[in-house]
Symmetry: C2
Subunit: 146 residues, 2 copies
DNA sequence: ATACCTGCAAAGTCTTTGCCTTAGG
DNA sequence: CCTAAGGCAAAGACTTTGCAGGTAT
């Protein structure tokens, strides 16, 4: 692990310790794994990638991530619900969404979607075909921030 | 249901019929429900919102959506896997992702993320606070499109 | 010594499949 | 008629929780 990453790790742990969390092998190893990751990971993947010495149960990884999320060190991707979401695919009718992390409400963003240019660029540079995208904003709605 | 929506419904069903699907009460009602929806819906929500006359089992909704997705009439949001994904939240270090719908590979997008301006605008116009966002592109990677 | 953390196992939730009946074309 | 579609129920997969024992402070 590079000196920069080592520093990141220590600063995160210091922040958590100040909130009363204990520095355990599991906590350290989960954060290390996330720092080293080049993409979002599932609970199972994190558990598998942890050093065999510090490997811990998926249930424990779950509980660690729960705390890391509350501390805003980590975020969970997706709609923040267990279930899958489906929407109609009108070509002329793409929508982005605004989701409240407090109450879970989902509303459409009315402004024009700003990623068309990047999408075309990606199609050229990466060789991917049939590109579509999904853009979701997360935040606290006025009611929930009170 | 407005005449425009009625037309949308019929054109979708015609498209599906040409692929050998039968026009059933369930299929019609699922599509109607999605047309009327103002946000993505879960399987359970679709089942609940269907007219009591045409309401059908969640398992059936699942199978209908499966076909609609193959026909590219509907899309599924999220990481397209059952599991939840987590990533570290470096403030200076936001990433967008490119996901292959064929093999499921996930890679980072290196280009700058184009949604910062919209995010600030939403923060002002909607009253949402602590906005973050998630941008994922979906497509077929070069290997899978062969 | 005390509270937090952990592993194991069980419970819960949503998805996915099998089977048999129903119904579209 | 023939075959796709639907309902019910069971199987799967991942998450979430309870509990008893371990560990950081």
């Amino acid at each position: 692990m590079s000196p920069t990453n080592q520093q990141t790790l220590e600063s995160i742990i210091a922040q958590l310790r100040s909130k009363g969390m204990r520095k355990t092998a599991g906590l350290t190893s989960v954060i290390e794994t996330l720092i080293d990751a080049d993409r979002p990971l599932t609970i199972a993947e994190i558990s598998e990638r942890m050093d065999s010495a510090a490997r811990c149960d998926p249930a424990t990884v779950y509980r660690i991530l729960e705390k890391l999320e509350k501390a805003r060190v980590v975020r969970k991707l997706g709609m923040h619900e267990r279930a899958m979401y489906f929407e109609l695919l009108h070509r002329e009718n793409h929508h982005d969404y605004l989701l409240c992390t407090g109450c879970g409400s989902i509303t459409q963003v009315s402004a024009a979607c700003p990623v068309g240019a990047l999408e075309r660029q990606l199609q050229e540079t990466t060789g991917f075909t049939n590109l579509t995208h999904e853009l979701v904003f997360y935040g606290m709605c006025p009611k929930c921030s009170q």
